[in-house]
Amino acid sequence: MGRKEMIAMLLAGGEGKRLGVLTKDLAKPAVYFGGKYRIIDFTLSNCVHSGIDTVGVLTQYQPLELNRYLGIGSPWGLDRQDGGMTILPPYVKQKGGVWYKGTANAIYQNMPYIERYNPEYVLVISGDHIYKMDYDLMLQHHKRSGADVTIAGIEVPWKEASRFGVMHVDDEDRITAFEEKPKNPTSNIASMGVYIFTWKTLQKYLIYDEARRGSSHDFGKDVIPAMMNSGLHLACYPFKGYWKDVGTIESLWEANMDLLTDKPSLCLYDPNWRIYSVSPNRPAQLTTMTAEVTASCVNEGCMLEGIVDHSVLFCGVHAEQGSYISESVIMPGVRIGAGARVYRAIIGEGAVIQAGVTIGDPASDAITVVAVDQYVAADDHQLLEVEPL
């Protein structure tokens, strides 16, 4: 087994509670995004484009759909002889098994996997974010600065800073203070949840953290602060570009809408940085005589007979004649019946909106969510989940 310079550990066990019905039977990384993808496609594609060929995917919550989707990693080119993708669920050991207690504990429990490749560095990322990033540039930054840990940081609007771990950084990109989700943030450089650790150092701290009483075994809350306190060299890798945490209905909807602007800041068309995903292999989309499609992203397999404006349509959506879809995200296989109207909504996979039904309210800013496989007839409005903006 050859030695790997850097391997990736991708945390994909997130429950995504705030996504409500969309994650009822689905781990958050498997949630659909952008007309074709699932959230995890972005980080997996980043790994491959950054030259990382060994990725451990840590799963826990509702893994069935995610496991089925990932398979042996072939769509991302991760079906490799040496390395490739390995799915790492929690497991039973001789002294009984436990669930992953936190992000750091998940890595701790998989130290034998990492040791197998004996890497110099370990990249820890999560499958919850939408962004394109070359981790190799970050590794070069890590090596150049001689840091023990490098954390990718991005400037966020001040009002949102309290949702993230924020960092104070000096002129040489050295992190001088780190606060996890502060009530009154004093910096707006947020941690993107992308870490490069020098493996030997991380190993030491994981063992130490595991033994520490009262630890929640989380990178942001426990391991990084412990490293700070011991005076290790923590560097910040300043990232510029599109990065979005799509952990809420609102942010998921917004991130989809971001793709519809004239010059989207997240470019999906770069032939050198394709986002790979499992292709459903459907015929090209058919736009009929009665269709009108503007400012939208539409995937293959769709049949459009109605009006679609400012919307993202996944594969196999059928919008029947006289239907009207506006500012919405329509997931795979949804049928929008004749004359139905959909405003500012996220419609879950396989749902059916009966002819003539109206979803959402053009006068309201709220986002309406229709659950996976839900059948919405004319009088079912109480079933819908509405997320006020």
Partner: protein, 370 residues
């Protein structure tokens, strides 16, 4: 019948009048239907019918074929038992290359002999259809036929050059003609033949021994009196795509929702080589009607009654009407394209006007800049 049938897609001497579209590629890999190649239809039909060992008898200009089919993984033909075999001619001798297809069947006889499977389905690549071979073989067995030919009844004359056949009431075939014959019949052969492997090997050897080397003309047609040759009536959509007018007409048929729904889905899905193109983006000022559009396109202009392959970019103010634009085509601002076929990677600069006259579409060759 699972695991009991060998598939052969025979590309040797296919009738090809597609002009520039087949200048550097074989008929099998002519792009069709916004994201497919012609061979995808018969290959997917075979796979969906449970045929898990398929050989493609390549003949000439097969570089694009190798690239398209690869390991066969996109058709689920990459596995331990069976899988995909691309078999080019075993010799480069020009005299041998020009010999009939039976000669090449003989050269590839190991493919048949190495397998213990019982039946063979032999097909061509230029039939756009979605066939359930499982049903064809059941009928073949019920009828006690020696050879079953998949046929289609066409009430009106369709573009394309198929072989017509003469069929009796009970389904027995009494005549098969060449592509240029004048036989009056509303039944056309889809050039898909089902028979036992032993019979095929026997036909190959006895025909060659008599100096005959064409499968249909010699091995089958000349034995119609001795063998029980029956027709199987296929009910789905059929496009015989071996001339330019038939290429254009059959492409445009895909815009009918009923054809789209049946051809691509029934009885099974049509597979093709997957590309990682993003979804197609319609800009705010775009206008698209009655069109078939693949992934990865960016549409800022107007598209009417047209087919766009993957990665096509229609810039602002451009109008594309009654046309087919293949992969990565680019149409500059305010250009007008009417009744034309643009092969892959064609770049039309701003303000150009391209139109085909009368019934024939104007054909622009691969990688041209206009």
């Amino acid at each position: 019948m699972k695991h009991n049938v060998l598939g052969v897609i025979n590309l040797i001497h296919e009738t090809d009048e597609l002009e520039h579209l087949t200048q550097n590629r074989c008929l099998a890999t002519v792009p069709f239907g916004a994201r497919y190649r012609l061979i995808d239809f018969v290959l997917s039909s075979m796979v969906n019918s449970g045929i898990s060992k398929v050989a493609v008898f390549a003949h000439t200009k097969y570089r694009s074929l190798m690239d398209h089919l690869g390991s066969g993984k996109h058709w689920d033909l990459q596995h331990r038992q069976g899988g995909l075999f691309i078999l080019p001619p075993s010799s480069v001798d020009i005299q041998e290359m020009s010999r009939g297809d039976l000669y090449h069947f003989y050269q590839h006889r190991d493919y048949f002999q190495r397998s213990s499977w019982e039946y063979v389905v032999i097909a061509r690549s230029h039939m756009v259809c979605n066939v359930d071979f499982d049903d064809v073989i059941s009928r073949h067995q019920e009828q006690g036929a020696d050879i079953t030919i998949v046929c289609k009844r066409q009430d009106k004359q369709m573009p394309g050059k198929p072989r017509k056949v003469k069929m009796e009431e009970n389904g027995r075939i009494t005549a098969i003609q060449d592509h240029y014959g004048r036989l009056v019949s509303d039944v056309v052969s889809m050039e898909m033949y089902v028979m036992r492997k032993e019979l095929l090997m026997e036909l190959v050897e006895t025909s060659l021994a008599q100096g005959q080397d064409h499968l249909v003309r010699h091995a089958i047609f000349s034995r119609l009196g001795q063998l029980n040759v029956y027709g199987y009536m296929y009910e789905g959509y059929l496009g015989v795509v071996n001339t330019l007018p038939s290429y254009y007409a059959n492409s445009m048929s895909l815009l009918k929702p009923e054809v789209w729904k049946s051809l691509f889905y029934q009885p099974g899905p049509i597979y093709t080589k997957v590309k990682d193109e993003p979804p197609t983006r319609y800009a705010s000022g775009s206008r698209v009607t009655n069109s078939l559009i693949a992934n990865g396109c960016r549409i800022e202009g107007t598209v009417i009654n047209s087919i766009l392959f993957r990665g096509v970019h229609i810039e602002k103010g451009a109008i594309v009407k009654d046309s087919i634009i293949m992969q990565n085509g680019q149409v500059g601002e305010s250009s007008f394209i009417y009744n034309s076929i643009l092969d892959k990677d064609v770049q039309v600069e701003n303000g150009r006007d391209i139109r085909g006259a009368g019934g024939t579409p104007f054909l622009v060759g691969k990688k041209k800049i206009i």
